[in-house]
């Protein structure tokens, strides 16, 4: 397994666990109020710290174990994999933007918009990282 693939696995696990916790623990009963935004902000802080921390630790761990691999530049296959993953992530991103536009028409609360945007980014990232992992496993 290449260094990039290991980092992708770490990103996938970190994203799933951190945002899984966020969406499960979010106090949905106050999503329609002003406090819903503050709650999201409070919860996003630990989520961000967990993701950055987990990614940095994983990258450092694998870089120390195999420094040569960590310094390798992406080759054409890896660039293709990254491009295809990013392309696939574009679709949930567009769907999320449209969902937000409809939320504006229905005059939903700011916290609903915020959570919808967070969900859009998370789903797009999971599609990107997940599809890239699939392509890594498949060979391209």
């Amino acid at each position: 397994m290449s260094f990039n693939e290991k980092i992708h696995w770490a990103a996938f696990v970190a994203l799933t666990s951190a945002f899984g916790w966020y969406f499960l623990a979010y106090p949905w009963q106050i999503v329609g109020t002003r406090a819903g935004v503050a709650a999201a902000a409070d919860m996003l802080l630990p989520v961000t710290i967990i993701i950055i921390g987990a990614m940095s630790l994983t990258a450092a761990f694998f870089a120390i174990r195999a420094p040569k691999e960590a310094h390798l530049k992406d080759d054409e296959r890896e660039r293709t994999i990254h491009m295809r993953g990013t392309h696939l992530a574009y679709y949930p991103l567009v769907l999320g933007v449209w969902a937000n536009l409809f939320a504006i028409f229905y005059q939903l609360s700011a916290a609903v918009h915020l959570n919808l945007l967070i969900a859009t980014v998370v789903v797009a990232e999971l599609v990107r990282v997940g599809s890239q992992l699939y392509f890594y496993r498949r060979g391209y």
Binding site: S2, E5, D75, E76, R77, E78, Y136, G139, Y140
Partner: protein, 73 residues
């Protein structure tokens, strides 16, 4: 997964080049070991440049490394 319309003799050529490893070939071509493995297994179709580089490492013409499968379009 769609099968590539060509095969390759990289494994044999590596063997004949003193059991050259995939990592060594990757270093000389400028790609990762995983990419050489994917090309060798027919999972990844390399660019023309990488194909020529692989052939160049073995000192062979391109068609001695990659062969178009007869019967494919």
């Amino acid at each position: 997964m769609a099968r590539l319309p060509f095969t390759n003799d990289i494994r044999t050529l590596r063997f004949m080049a003193g059991e050259m490893t995939q990592a060594e070939l990757g270093d000389r071509v400028g790609v990762t070991r995983q990419t050489i493995a994917a090309i060798e297994q027919g999972k990844y179709s390399p660019s023309l440049e990488v194909a020529f580089r692989i052939a160049h490492v073995f000192g062979k013409p391109l068609e001695a490394v990659f062969q178009w499968e007869s019967g494919t379009d």
